[in-house]
Amino acid sequence: MTELYLVLSFFILLNLLAGIVRVLRGPTLQDRMLTAQLFGTTGVAILLVLAEAIGVAALRDVALVFALLGAVAVVAFIRGASSPDEDQPEPGSEPGSEPGRGP
């Protein structure tokens, strides 16, 4: 059983490495972003299988952190990719927007 786990985790690792081709070739920034998502999910799968194979239960917690970091990484990419004029104006920075001012 342990051999099956190790072979499968190595196979999933090969899939992860194949995703690097998309990072290098992907013509747009969004292609590279989605490959980051692929890395996160395959990393989670490898960690979970290894946790079962070698019996280190802490790897499941590491997989949990990977899943959360994957979500945060995509949001950070999007924020970095969006142009500044799409941001919402700061509340209170527009003249006359403060509450309590009578006509």
């Binding site: 499968l8 995703g19 998502q37 692929l38 239960a57 899943a67 979500a71 969006s82 799409e86």
Partner: protein, 100 residues
């Protein structure tokens, strides 16, 4: 190997197959939106089958719940991340691929 071990092996091999399908989709599909399709479908399904197979081998209920939690988090992250990436692609003006 017991019947539980055979079931785990079958589920894990199916999950690995879907990881391969997802990677092939990301590498071979013609534009960003198609690649997002391949990525999220295969990732949810592949990780789901892998987690299901590992749940059968778990020693206690806390491990089962932790595995389930990891899968749900990856589902949520994948779904919202795919929507954000697609929105960013539309804003950047990336056209849908047409069959020529």
């Amino acid at each position: 190997m017991s019947i539980l071990d055979w079931a785990t092996a079958a589920l894990l091999i199916a999950g690995a197959f879907f990881f391969l399908a997802g990677t092939v989709g990301v590498l071979r599909f013609p534009d960003v939106y198609n690649r997002l399709h391949a990525l999220t479908k295969a990732d949810n399904l592949a990780l789901g089958l892998t987690v299901l197979g590992l749940m059968l081998q778990a020693g206690s209920w806390t491990v089962v719940l932790k595995l389930l939690l990891v899968w749900l988090l990856v589902l949520l992250a994948g779904a919202s991340g795919a929507q954000l990436i697609a929105d960013s692609a539309v804003r950047a003006g990336i056209q849908l691929w047409e069959r020529r």
